[in-house]
Amino acid sequence: MAGIALAQLEAQAASTAPHFAPKAKHVILISLPGGISHVDTFDYKPELAKHHGRETQGANTIKPFFGKRGALMKSPWEFRRYGQSGKWVSDLLPHLARQADHLTFLHSMVSRSNAHGPAIFQMSTGFIFQGFPSVGSWISYGLGSDNENLPSFVVLPDPRGVPPCGVANWGNGFLPAAHQGVVFGGESNPIADLRPPPSVSAPVQAATYDLLTEINERHLMQNPGEDALVARIKAYELAAKMQLTAPEVTSIAGESEKTKELYGLNDPASRGFGYNCLLARRLIERGVRSVQLFNGGHFGSPRVNWDAHEDLVANHTKNARTFDRPAAGLIADLKQRGLLSETLVVVTTEFGRLPISEGLGEGGRDHNPEGFTSFLAGAGLKAGYWHGATDELGYKAAENPVTIYDFHATILHLLGIDHTRLTYYHNGLNRRLTDVHGHVIREILI
C-alpha cells in the first residue's frame, strides 16, 4: 500500500499501453443533447403509422415524463432504404442516410433515467450522478496522448451554447486534472488562456518563458530528485509549444472548397457544427486521442437542442439542418482519407422519444429511456449493420437490449482497453467507467 497516494495523485498524462491490440487509435464522440427521436430517424416503425391516433391502454399504457398522455403518432417523415445494406432512414437526415453502409446501428439502447440530467450524466460518465470522470477522461487516463503539444481530450461544444449540465459532460471527476476535457472555442483563440492579453507582446512572452525556465532550473538544482519540479518545468515547455500548435490546428484556411462544402460550411445553418466536425478530423490527424462534439446546447428559450416536447417537426427540422450534412461529411471525409480505419466515430443522445404525442392533439414527443438508437462508424465494426430492436411501436428495447455500460465497454474495447481493468481508486473503491456492469457487444465487431 505504501506510496499509493503519491502514485495516484501525481499520475501524469503519459501514454500507457493498451490491454490488447486496439482497432481504433482515436475516437470522435458526437452527442445530441435533448434526446433525438429514434422513430423519426433510423428506427423505422411501419406499425406506428398504422396505429396513428390510437391511445395506448392498460398494461401497455406509455408513461411520459411530464405526464401528458397522448396518442400514437406516426413519424411526419417518410422512410426509404439506402445503400447495399438497405438501411431504412427517414427523409429528415438525407446526407447521413447516404453513409448508411459505413454505419453500425444500435437500435436497442436503454438509459437508466428519463430526466435529462441523470441520463446525460450516464451517457457522458457512466453514472447517473454528477461528479464521475467522463468517457474522454477515462480514455485519456488509459491511453494518454499521441501528441504532447495538444491536449489528449478536446471538447467542441455547439456554437449555439454549451450542452445541458455543462462541463460535467467532460469533467475529469476524481481523475487528475490532466485528463479533463479541454474546450476549444473559436478559431483565433481556441483554448482559454492560450495567449496572454494583448498588453503582453510576443517578445515579452518569450523572455518570460526564458527567465522562468532559468529560475526553475536553478531551483531544481537546489532540490535534486524532486520529480514534480521537473514535471512542472516540462509543462511550461509544452504550454509554449501548445501556444504555437493550437492555432495551426484550428485554422482551416488550407482546406479545399470541396472539403468545406462537404462539411456544410457554406450553409449558415450548418456552418458552426460543420466547422467543429472538420476541426475534429484535424485534431485526430494530429494525434489527439478523443474529441467530443455536441450538436445541441443547453435548455432555455429559444430552444437549441433536440428536446422536441411541443413541436417535433419544427424542432427536428431545425436541428437536422445543423447536424446532418456535417456529420455525414465527417464520415465520408474520414473514409476517403483512410482515417476511418483507425478512428471510431460514435453518435449518441441521452434518450430517445416516445412514439406517442405529448398530449392529445399536440405535436411533440416526450422522453423515452426505454429504447433508442445510437450509431457508430469506423475501426473494428461491421459496417452497414444493425443490432437490437425496439418493439413494433418503437417504445421499448425488445431484442438484445444494450445498456450504456455495454455501450461504453464496447467503445473502450475498440480502443484496446478492457473496461474491467481500467480502474482508479476513489473513496474506498476501484472505480470504473462501467461501474460493476457492462459487456462488450461482440455481435457488432468484425
Binding site: A115, Q130, P196, A207, N216, D311, G359, Y425, L429
Partner: protein, 895 residues
Amino acid sequence: MLGWISTISLLAAGAPAAPPDAVGRLLATQCAKCHGAGSAHLSDFDISSRDSLLKGGKHGPAIVPGDASGSRLYQWIVEGKMPPGEKLDAATTTAVGDWINAGAPWDGGKTTSNRQRWWAFEPPLKRTPPAIAGAANPIDAFLLAKLREKRLDFNPPADPRTLIRRLYFDLTGLPPKSEDYGQTYQQAVERLLQSRHYGERWARHWLDVVRFGETDGGEHNYERMNAWPYRDWVIESLNQDKPYDQFIREQIAGDVLNPEDPKTVAATGFLVAGPWDSVSAVLNKDETLRLQARMDELDDMVTTVGHSFLALTVNCARCHDHKFDPIPSRDYYRMTAFFSAVGFGEREVATGQQRKLRAEYLKPLRKEMDEARKRLADIEDPVRARLLITRYQEFDRQRAGEPRRIAVNPIWNRNQFSETRARCFRFVISSHGGKKAHLDFLELSPAGHRIENWTAEETATPDKPQTIEIRFQQPGAVSEIRFSSDLRRGSKDGAVSVYRLDASDDGQVWRTLCSSLDHVGNVEVELPTVSGEEIEAALTPEARTERSRMLAEIERLQRNMDEAPAVVTLYAAKPRELEKAYLLERGNVKRPVEEVSPGVLSALGGEPLPADSKDAGPRRLALANWIASSKNPLTARVVVNRVWYYHFGNGIVNTPSDFGVNGDRPSHPELLDWLAVAFIENGWSLKWLHRQIVSTLAYQQSAAIEEKAFAIDAGNRLVWRMPLKRMDAEMLRDSILDVSGNLNPEASGPSFLLQKKGSRGSYIYAALNNDGPEVWRRAVYRLVVRGGERIMMDSFDCPDPSVATPQRAISNTPVQALALMNNEFVIRQAGLFARRLEREAPRGRTEQIRLAYHLLYGRKPEAKEIERDAGFIAAQSLAAYARVLLNSNEFIYVP
C-alpha cells in the same frame, strides 16, 4: 507513465487476501441477487463468505480450493449455467478459475458477521510511546522507533525561515508578511492558531470532505444563495476550537439541539451540502423514478456521514451486503431511517414571535404591493397587447413561406388551409390557461362568420374538449380562421393553447381542417416581445407619469418589505414528513423486503438507540451522539488522521475516508491510537492536535531528499522528511492576492461570484471576467458552483463538489501552465504586485528584487540572481518580472 497500472499493482500488493476484483464483483452483483444476504438464498446457497462457498448449497460445495475444474462454481460458469441467461466474459471466468486454483484466498471471513476483528473496529488503546533518546514528543518517539528499524532518521531541521513559511501556509493558507519572520517558531504557532485565517484555511479542507457546493448540480443546477451560513459555521467552529464531538453533533442534529438558533441550525447544511436532482425529485411524473430519487437523497446523506466521520463506505451495502467490510445491507437501510425526515431546500429559523412580527409587518405591504402591481399592469398591458398585435402580424407575414404559423398565443392567431365549403364547422378546444377557455373573438373567413366574447362553461381537457359549433344555412366557404383569447391585455388566463377546426356537411361526420399542430412551438421559434422603454414611449403623458409613479411605488414597497423583521432563511436540513424505511432487495425501490427501524452499524455494536422513536429529531440526535462518542473506535482516529494528512501530505492511513478492508493499513497503528486517545483526553480539541503535530521534530525537518531513505521509502510513509507541497488552488489564488497587496480581508457572509448563471432559462454558469475588491476575498468565500464553466482554479485540481474529495489530485499540465501564465487575473495581479514593489521599495531595482524574494520565497536573493533579474527588468518591465516570479516553482512548491 504507467499511471493506472502501477496503481493496480500497488493496491494488490498491500491488500489482504481477498477475491480479486473481478471475482468480488461477480459475487457481489450477479450471484448475490439470488444467493446473497437479503436474498432468497435459492438452493440454500449463500455466497457471502469463503466458508459458505465451501459449504455450498443443495448441489454440494461450490468451491474446492486449489481445483477450479473440480469446483461447481467454476464449472457452472464455464458451462453457462450460471448466472442464468448470461455468459460471463472470458476475463471474469479466468479470474474465478485462477482464484480457486490459488486456494481461494479470502481473509475477510464471513462478511456479514463480526467474527473477524478488524483493526479499525477495535477501540484505540492508550499506547505508551517508545523510549527513544532525544524524542521528547511522543509523536516523534513513535515515528523514530519505526525509522530506526530501517536504520533511518529524521532529516535535519529546516532553516527557521523555511519553517515559518511552512507553518503559515499550513495553518492559514497565506504567506508570512516580512515582519513575521522575526518571531520565534513557538510564537508563530500560537499566533496563527489564534488567527481567523486558520479557520478559513482548515474549513476549506473540511468542505472538500463533505462535498459542500452552492448550486444543486444536474440539469436545473439552481443556486443556493443561502448555503453560505454552513461555510461560516465551519470557519467559526474551527476558530473557536469547538470540541470535535460537538462539531459532529451540530452537523448531524443542530436543528434538534437548538432549533431556534440560526447558527446551530446552519450546521445541518452538512446533511444537504451535496448535489440534488430537483428534476427527478419534483418534476418527474414517474412514481418509481421519484422514489428512486428519494433513495438517492438518503444515500447521499448516509454516504457522507459514513465517509466523513467514520471513514466507512456504508454506501457499498445499498445493493448487497458490503463485500469487504462487515456491513450488511440491513445496516445500510437502518442508517437511512435516521434521515427519513430530512429534505433538501431552504428553511426558516425563527421563534413563533419572530414569525408573527414579520407576518404582521408584511401583510399590509403585500396588499399595497398587489394593488400597485395591478395598477401598473392596467397601464402597461393594453399598450403591450396593442404593440404585440402589430408585431405578431408582421412576424406572421415574414414567415409566410414557412410551412408553419407563429406559435399559438393569447393575443392574435391566424391559420390558413385550402378553401372548404361546408354547412357545419366546429372549433374544438382541448387545452388552455386558467379555469375556463375564453375567446374575445373567433372569425371564419371568407364566409365572414364572427363570434365575440365567448367563455366556455367548463374546463376543457383532451378527454372533455369544449366546442363552439357554427352552422350555416347554406354551405359557407372557409379558408382561414383568426382568433384571440385576450385582445386587450394578452392575459394567459383562459387563453386557448390546443385547438382544431373541423368541418362537416351533416353534423355527423367531421374532418379536421387545421389545428394548433400547424403552429410552431413557442420555445422553438420565439415570438416578438416589447420592452419597457417601448411601452413607455407609447403611453400618453398622463399614463407615463402614472406609470413612473407606480414603478416608484413598487420600488418603495419592496424596500419596505426588505426591511421586515428578519426571519433567517438557510439552506440546511429541511424538515419533511417522516417516512418509513425499508430494506430493499438489491436496492430496488419496488422490492421492499421489510420495514426497518433506525439503527447504527451492527459491527460496531454501539450502545442501543431509542430505535423506535416516532420522532425524527431524537433519532438523528441519537445517531450524532453515537458517532461523537469516545467509545466509537473510528471517530477520533478518523479525524486525527485527516489532520495528519493535511500536515504531512500522507495520512497514517492513506485513504482518509476509508478505514475498511479495502482501505489502506495504518503505517503507524500505535501512533494513530495514541493520537486518538490523547485527542479525546484533551477535549477533542483540534487546536491541541495542531500544536502537538507542528511541535514535533518530524514536522520541522527539512524537505531534502536523502538518498538512502528515498531508496527504502520513496513514498515517505515513515516520515523521514517533510515533503514539498504544491499550493492548492485556493492557496495559490489567495497568496497571489496577498503578495500583490490586494487580499480583501472581508470575512463571512454571502459568497462572491466567479461564475454566474445564464439568463432566459439557462442553467449554465458562465465564468465571469470580473475584477475588483469584491472578488479579491479569500477563495473559501466564493460561490462554489457545480459544473460551472472552467475557471483558473479548476486547472489546479480544485474539485467539483459533486463528490467528496478527501484527497485532492495534484497534476501538472500544460493547460495549467497556460492558465497561470496568461490568465488575466494573474497578469493584473502581477501588475499590482509590481506597483507594490515600487511603492514599498522606492530606492531601486535591487531593493525591489530583494523585497519580491522576501515576500514570495522568504529568503534573500543571491548576488547572481539580483544581477540576472535586474537585467530582465531593465529589458522588459517590473510587471513582467512579477509575473515570472508568480509562476515560479519556488513560489508554488512550499518546502
